[in-house]
């Protein structure tokens, strides 16, 4: 049997890169899309790539504009394809917007958390119009080198800029270990019967953000945990975040060596308060999604962070 040729969009980004490596490690798939010459934003290149693959994973992450334009080009070009290759579309739990409590795939999609959530929902709507698509809505990816929910958090914890947030950290931390996410994507590529369905991806019984920070800080040796006052949180998110974000962009643009301090953004703060709990039982049932134990996942994330700095 010949290998399933999987085109990964967003292969230069963290999840896409990892996905390519995972696909290559299988004995049933090969990976396209991470060749340096390939530019998925170029319509001709994308069209050629779509013609040369058996399945696609849309793992494009980034700004609302990047998400929208990637989805637009993908589904416009994939629509007319006669072969109807499977597309696994990586969305986000932000499509549920400000919903609280236990949320499964039938819950209303409010996408009322700003441009990012609106863009994700718009992209999902395009995906839904394509007949052989599976939508995955992961929570927060964590694990070795995961930039947002492990590396950034580790840096903030070590700097004692994050810690016990009191009421501001009572939200649920819908973690998904990176390998579990990748495993679910692989599974979604190979199950024809789930076409047209959406899946939440997160660990069962997620901790609160306060619990997550306490456990991760302990794994990192960043203890004692610091109580972060409301006043300080305001200062971080309202006063420090904008210039730090600019510094980050400038440093990246100029390819400056070294790292700018991590940003504690208003959206991170909002996420930490948000009492939404993803119900992923469907993914466990139909995708065979695995769940790494939090203890092991955090130990690995911490070990990798400490080793890599």
């Amino acid at each position: 049997m010949s290998a399933l040729r999987v085109l990964v969009l967003g292969a230069q980004q963290f999840v896409g890169r990892r996905l390519c490596a995972t696909l290559r490690a299988t004995d049933w798939a090969s990976c396209l899309g991470d060749e340096p010459a390939f530019d998925e934003r170029n319509a001709t290149a994308l069209s050629d790539a779509l013609g040369a693959c058996d399945a696609i994973v849309n793992a494009v992450q980034g700004s609302p504009a990047q998400i929208s334009s990637a989805a637009q080009s993908l589904y416009e070009l994939a629509g007319p394809l006669a072969a109807r290759p499977r597309i696994v579309h990586l969305s986000s739990m932000t499509v549920y917007g400000s919903a609280v409590g236990d949320v499964d795939e039938n819950s209303a999609l409010r996408a009322d958390l700003g441009d990012y959530s609106t863009a994700q929902l718009a992209a999902e709507r395009r995906a839904a119009a394509y007949p052989n698509c599976v939508v995955l809505r992961p929570g927060c990816e964590y694990g070795p080198e995961c930039p947002d929910w492990s590396v950034r958090i580790a840096r903030l914890l070590i700097a004692r800029r994050l810690g016990d947030l009191g009421a501001a950290g009572d939200g649920y931390c819908n973690l998904i270990y990176l390998d579990d996410l990748l495993g679910s994507i692989l599974s979604a590529l190979r199950r024809p019967e789930i076409a047209g369905q959406a899946f939440n991806l997160a660990m069962p019984q997620p901790p609160t953000w306060n619990e997550y920070f306490a456990l991760f800080a302990k794994a990192l040796g960043a203890v004692p945990l610091r109580r972060i006052e409301q006043r300080r949180l305001q200062l971080e998110t309202k006063v420090l975040a904008p210039p730090l974000r600019i510094a980050e962009i400038v440093a990246r643009g100029l390819r400056l060596p070294g790292r700018t301090p991590a940003v504690l953004s208003p959206s991170l703060r909002r996420t930490c308060e948000h009492e939404i709990r993803l119900d992923s039982s469907k993914a466990r049932r139909l995708l065979g999604m695995q769940s790494m134990t939090l203890e092991t996942g955090l130990a690995r994330a911490a070990q990798s962070f400490t080793a890599g700095g």
């Binding site: 609280v100 409590g101 016990d164 009191g166 009421a167 800080a217 004692p224 945990l225 109580r227 006052e229």
Partner: protein, 561 residues
């Protein structure tokens, strides 16, 4: 949802499955547990967000002996969050011995053992924001701690148990948002319950009469009622609700309001520890979760039994602040900042005694001769206490001469003659005010006297130093500031026999199917431990019982007629 009662239409009748009266630690915790439990809940709170003189005045009452007990409007708060808006946050569970019937402590014994509360303590600890439920050095820390006193072996006291400190968490501020956004919980502020009414058979509460400060009256009918109004106010409401049972609710045997306990606490003596300075550590250790923890000298249970005395713990403490002879700039600074310290804390820090001009001058002298110490201390208090959300819990002064006093906290034994009763006077809502007649017993004096003697012996034998105090002054010192403020215990005690208790082991008032009490009023004995962690654990237990009962159905939420 959260509303102000004064905005309700006059004479409204509200209905719910469960009506909780009082939004302090106990009431808030029960309401939190009932979020999304499939039950309609009303939480009635007499106060509002923030202090109000008018609401606080509803707590006013009388005391039989002003020297022995502070006025009833002190040491409690009539506002959303209750007294947790000012508490100190010291947490520790009760000890196994506290639950036992001890033949040398009259009327001791709980209707269950410590095992019954163990499943609830860890969550209680979290709700109090006191970290994990680990109360020994060994279980709380994965690295060795410096000893309290190096090479000090104790036979009669343990030195490895901890007290852990809450932020201190104001339960209203911390959990108000959760309650506000809960769909099945209605919080009503400025809603003072003035009486509970029974049906004719006297077996069920049918309604609570409620009033706002603005005079709006309404009533709440519910399937179950929970009184969570604090140890003194529980007795007041039970006694004042006398329309069907003349002696008050659950008071057929004249037990409501009796057995009133606080704790016996004080500071005494002087001890110079015969060790190098670095070999003594009486301050806080910080756990990995960032929680302040402190070790104590705890009287071993087998010694309590052998001596026939109550539970007792002690800590090394700074010398008495009021006496400038300590020549410590920081202590004198504290003395001079007396007007800035709230009454509840100033009382034990400074006492009520008036100091002479000479003493004031000496205190000023102490500050002037140690200005850098005083400034460093002021900065520490500003940074780590005033501005911090997790506050440095208390004043710790490292003595350069290794000179300390002994600060102790002891069990007060149950005494039926120590009691809360109603007076002829009524508050503006027509509810009779209370009189507090707090009394201690010989047994209480014995607990402190013998424990101190054992401690003195212990220091001597261990070669750690000589504890000097005058045994003849023990009783005077232990009552110098009267009953320990803020711990109001035993006025609706749990038990199996209605002749000597008010509630059963489920905290349900004997003889009334749907009335429960939450809080330290139900504790049959007082332990050495501060009460709030156990109040919260019991509240969690009660909430779990109510949820189980509602799952069984059986007319649980039915509004009685």
């Amino acid at each position: 949802m959260m509303h102000i009662a004064n905005e309700l239409p006059e004479n409204s009748i509200l209905t719910a499955d469960i009506c909780i009266v009082g939004a302090g630690a106990a009431g808030i915790v029960i309401a939190l547990q009932l979020i999304d439990a499939g039950l309609e809940v009303i939480l009635l709170e007499s106060g509002q967000i923030g202090p109000s003189d008018q609401a606080q005045a509803l707590y006013a009452g009388e005391v039989t002996d002003e020297h022995l007990h502070s006025p009833p409007h002190r040491y409690r708060q009539r506002r959303f969050g209750g007294t947790t808006t000012i508490w100190g946050g010291r947490c520790m569970p009760f000890d196994a011995i506290d639950f036992a019937a001890r033949d040398y402590v009259a009327d001791s014994g709980w209707p269950f053992t410590l095992q019954e509360l163990l499943p609830f303590y860890p969550q209680a600890n979290q709700l109090c924001e006191a970290g994990q439920f680990a109360y020994t050095v060994e279980s709380a820390f994965d690295h060795p701690l410096r000893p309290m006193i190096d090479h000090f072996e104790c036979r009669n006291f343990t030195t490895n148990t901890l007290e852990r400190f809450s932020c201190p968490t104001d339960f209203g501020a911390r959990y108000g948002k959760k309650l506000r956004s809960a769909r099945n919980v209605r919080v009503l502020l400025d809603a003072t319950v003035t009486a509970l009414h029974l049906n004719e058979s006297g077996q069920r509460v049918v309604a609570a009469s409620v009033q706002s400060l603005g005079g709006r009256r309404f009533s709440v009918q519910a399937g179950q009622f929970i009184l969570a109004t604090g140890g003194l106010e529980v007795a007041r409401l039970l006694l004042a609700s006398s329309d069907v049972q003349r002696s008050g609710l659950g008071n057929a045997h004249d037990v409501v309001g009796r057995y009133y306990m606080c704790h016996i606490a004080g500071t005494i003596g002087a001890i110079r520890i015969e060790r190098p300075l670095h070999a003594v550590w009486h301050g806080y250790d910080i756990s990995d979760e960032g929680v302040y923890c402190r070790r104590r000298l705890a009287l071993r249970p087998e010694v309590q039994r052998a001596q026939g005395i109550g539970n007792f713990i002690a800590r090394l403490h700074h010398p008495r602040i009021t006496d400038p002879a300590h020549r410590n700039a920081v202590l004198s600074l504290l003395f001079l900042s007396r007007p800035l310290i709230p009454y509840e804390y100033a009382k034990r820090l400074h006492g009520d005694e008036r100091s002479s001009l000479r003493a004031w001058a000496k205190h000023i002298g102490n500050v002037v001769t140690g200005p850098f110490d005083a400034m460093a201390f002021a900065w520490h208090m500003l940074k780590d206490r005033r501005l911090a959300e997790r506050k440095f819990p208390s004043i710790i002064i490292k003595s350069k001469a290794n000179l300390y006093s002994i600060d102790y906290h002891a069990e007060q034994q149950p005494n039926p003659n120590s009691r809360v009763t109603l007076t002829q006077h009524r508050d503006p809502m027509g509810v009779p005010r209370i009189n507090v007649d707090w009394r201690y017993t010989r047994g209480d004096v014995d607990t402190v006297t013998r424990s101190l003697a054992l401690l003195r012996e212990e220091f001597k034998q261990g070669g750690a130093g000589t504890l000097h105090y005058d045994p003849a002054t023990v009783e005077f010192e232990m009552t110098r500031y009267g009953a320990y403020g803020g711990h109001h215990i035993g006025t609706a005690r749990m038990g199996t026999d209605p002749r000597s208790s008010v509630t059963d082991a489920d905290c349900r008032v004997h003889g009334i199917d749907n009335l429960y009490v939450a809080g330290s009023a139900t504790f049959p004995t007082s332990s050495q431990a501060n009460p709030t962690l156990t109040i919260v654990a019991l509240a969690l237990r009660l909430a779990a019982r109510l949820k189980q009962a509602s799952a069984r159905g059986a007319g649980f939420g039915t509004v009685p007629t």
